[in-house]
């Protein structure tokens, strides 16, 4: 699936987007943490730090690591505090 980073997660990741394969949100986050140590502040094992959120396809915000992912999903990772 497609992973898109916004704001601080993009700064940490050093890229705006990438492609990964994962069956669940937790698996995706775990893989990201492993590949990108710079995301250590953002990803805690298979979950996001409470200051960050994940969204599926611009539609649904998801937190459960067991959330299933499909190959054509886009996972957006951004700051929980979206306003200001």
């Amino acid at each position: 699936m497609h992973v898109e980073f916004f704001g601080v997660p993009r700064e940490r990741a050093g890229v705006s987007e990438l492609e990964l394969h994962a069956d669940t949100l937790g698996q995706l986050l775990g893989t990201l943490a492993e590949r990108m140590p710079s995301l250590s502040e953002i990803i805690q094992r298979d979950r996001l730090h409470p200051a960050f959120v994940a969204n599926l396809n611009g539609d649904r915000f998801v937190t459960d690591p067991h959330t299933p992912l499909r190959a054509d999903d886009s996972v957006l990772i951004l700051s929980a505090d979206a306003g200001g």
């Binding site: 916004f6 704001g7 937190t63 306003g83 200001g84």
Partner: protein
């Protein structure tokens, strides 16, 4: 007297320069705290809801708070509270920095300004050399030599004249010209929304200069020091990283991705040229520095250079200015947008209302309802020209200085349907059809469409609701964000801290207790927040509010977003949400 307070308001007649200290009871302070809450209470007691906001009888309050002067990070803030000349409803605008500390240092918890000076003047309040409890020296000084001066020049000029230990809040040319969304500026920051600058301008007050070092006692100083240290530490953590590292401008690309970036006067939720205005692009192409308010450990101000070599002049860049002067006007030229933002700062104009009103006028031109062929979406030159005309109230600027609602009444053609405002206040950068909890927050906002008095967008960016299909369950969440904002604006702490609290009310109660000595609880502060929201409603009721005002422009209720058909909000659904909001409020 309760620790953290002086227990009085300094009431100043701008007509004569006469000042008096008016006691404020402990009960009122505990019930309304400070900032927005105390300001609203003082206005109600002064009968300000019924007065014309641009008349000599109008009252304008500069309210400090129990936390001002404490070591708690972000606490150096003040609220300017009055009746808005833009909306005719309550208006509370907050700003930060040394004016709050020096203002409270004059020995009062608020300044209440009434009357009208005989000529353009400066109110000078000087507590230096006088004893605690004594009336500070208050005088009017002529300010004719500052007529037409920018906010920055006024501040620098007055400090050169009066002394560098004075702190200055001033209006720019727009405030003098009674632009209905003129700001009051201090230290490069603005009490921005709702036109407080026009209220001060109508009083012929160019600036207020304060000097004072009177201290209040802290009830439990050791505990307060420890709490302050802990809060500062949290302010360096992930919850504030966004503000520290990128600033609010980072919202731009996020909102664009979610189809929530208002574009071309709310005709779209995405902007093709958003990337040009993003902080990532700005940082890659321009000089950048960071700054912070007095007593703040976050440092959210990101200042970008612009000009021929990209670094001649610096302007503080916020998301709201980028959206309002950029995507909303269809302008993707970052140089023009930064220049426009800077010019608004200099003139003392709220960038959101300026951008909203100009974008509205651009669409009216497009429709053939307004004869100003030069004013076209996408033209940076037109944007800059319109801002100049507004700041001077010249030509078309005289109409646009009235804001989009009044301009629509003059333009006709049912253009009110596309005027991007609620209660007369232009809508900030949150597309209501894509963020529907925020849509409710806008509709019911006491000061009109506002993202600082309702943080309902946070709900839309969470798994609590489906942001494009919200149900009545969203109402309680919207109320919760409104209550929290009311408390933060009254204690006062910066909202950029809101993510660091695990139990906001309980932790706030501990801080407030350490300052005041009150045995205050989180539950009490929940009630206090509701009371403050209720006081604003009471003000509006007295000012003539009716339930019909709690709505959104027709465009947002009749037309789905073109790029996102699911982002649609019907009038029936909004009405149901508003009714449920009123029911849960007990109104």
């Amino acid at each position: 007297m309760t620790s953290g307070y002086h227990g009085c308001v300094l009431r100043i007649d701008a007509g004569s320069g006469h000042a008096e200290r008016v006691p404020v009871s402990d009960a009122v302070l505990r019930a309304y705290l400070g900032g927005s809450g105390l300001g609203t209470r003082l206005l109600l007691d002064a009968g300000a809801a019924e007065a014309d906001p641009l008349s000599p009888e109008a009252s304008l309050v500069f309210a400090f708070s129990p936390l001002v002067g404490s070591p708690l990070t972000t606490s150096a803030k003040f609220a300017v509270v009055g009746k808005s000349p833009l909306t005719g409803r309550i208006n509370d605008s907050l700003a930060s920095s040394g004016f709050a500390v020096a203002g409270k240092g004059t020995g009062c918890d608020a300044l209440l300004i009434t009357g009208r000076a005989p000529e353009l003047s400066v109110i000078v309040i000087d507590a230096e050399g006088s004893e605690d409890g004594a009336l500070p020296a208050v005088r009017l000084e002529p300010a004719a030599d500052f007529r037409g001066a920018t906010c920055r020049d006024t501040e620098e000029g007055l400090r050169a004249r009066l002394g560098s230990s004075f702190r200055i809040a001033s209006i720019g040319p727009a405030g003098e010209c009674l632009v209905r969304y003129a700001t009051i500026s201090h230290d490069g920051r603005h009490a921005g929304r709702g036109g407080s600058g026009a209220v001060l301008g109508a009083k012929r007050i160019k600036a207020i200069a304060v000097r004072g070092k009177r201290r209040v006692e802290w009830a439990r100083p050791t505990e307060l020091t420890a709490l302050s240290r802990d809060l500062s530490k949290k302010s360096f953590g992930p919850a504030t990283a966004k503000y520290r590292e990128l600033g609010t401008a980072t919202n731009l690309l996020t909102f664009n991705r979610f189809g929530a970036l208002p574009t071309r006067n709310f005709q779209s939720g995405t902007f093709d040229e958003a990337q040009n205005l993003s902080p990532e692009t700005l940082a890659a192409t321009r000089d950048k520095t960071r700054a912070s308010c007095v007593a703040c450990t976050i440092g959210c101000e990101h200042i970008y250079g612009f000009g021929a070599d990209g670094a001649k002049v610096g302007v503080r860049v916020e998301y709201e200015s980028l959206f309002a002067l950029g995507s909303l006007c269809g302008v993707g030229d970052s140089e023009a947008v930064l220049r426009a933002s800077k010019r608004c700062d200099e003139l003392g104009i709220d960038t959101i209302s300026a951008g909203g009103t100009i974008a509205f006028a651009m669409e009216c031109v497009e429709q053939g309802w307004l004869d100003a062929p030069w004013l076209r979406f996408g033209s940076g030159d037109a944007l800059l020209r319109a801002i100049e005309l507004i700041g001077a109230r010249e030509g078309l600027g005289s109409l646009l200085a009235e804001g989009s609602r009044r301009a629509a009444e003059v333009i006709g053609h049912d253009s009110i349907a596309i005027a991007p405002q609620v209660k007369g206040l232009e809508i900030p950068g949150y597309e209501p059809r894509a963020l529907q909890t925020m849509a409710l927050g806008f509709a019911v906002g006491a000061r009109g469409a506002d993202h600082n008095r309702s943080g309902a967008y946070e709900v839309d960016f969470s798994n609590k609701v489906d942001r494009r299909h919200i149900t009545l369950d969203a109402v309680r969440h919207a109320i919760d964000t409104e209550d929290k904002a009311a408390l933060m604006d009254s204690m006062i702490l910066c909202k950029f801290l809101r993510g660091v609290f695990e139990d906001f009310y309980a932790e706030s109660a501990v801080m407030l207790g350490a300052v005041t000595g009150w045995d205050v609880t989180g539950d009490e502060l929940r009630e206090t927040a509701r009371r403050i929201v209720g006081a604003k409603r009471e003000f509006n009721l007295r000012a003539g509010w009716t339930p019909a005002e709690d709505t959104l422009p027709d465009r947002l209720l009749n037309t789905p977003l073109p790029n996102d058909p699911e982002a649609a909000l019907s009038r029936d659904r909004l009405d149901a949400l508003v009714s449920e909001y009123h029911r849960q409020r007990g109104w």
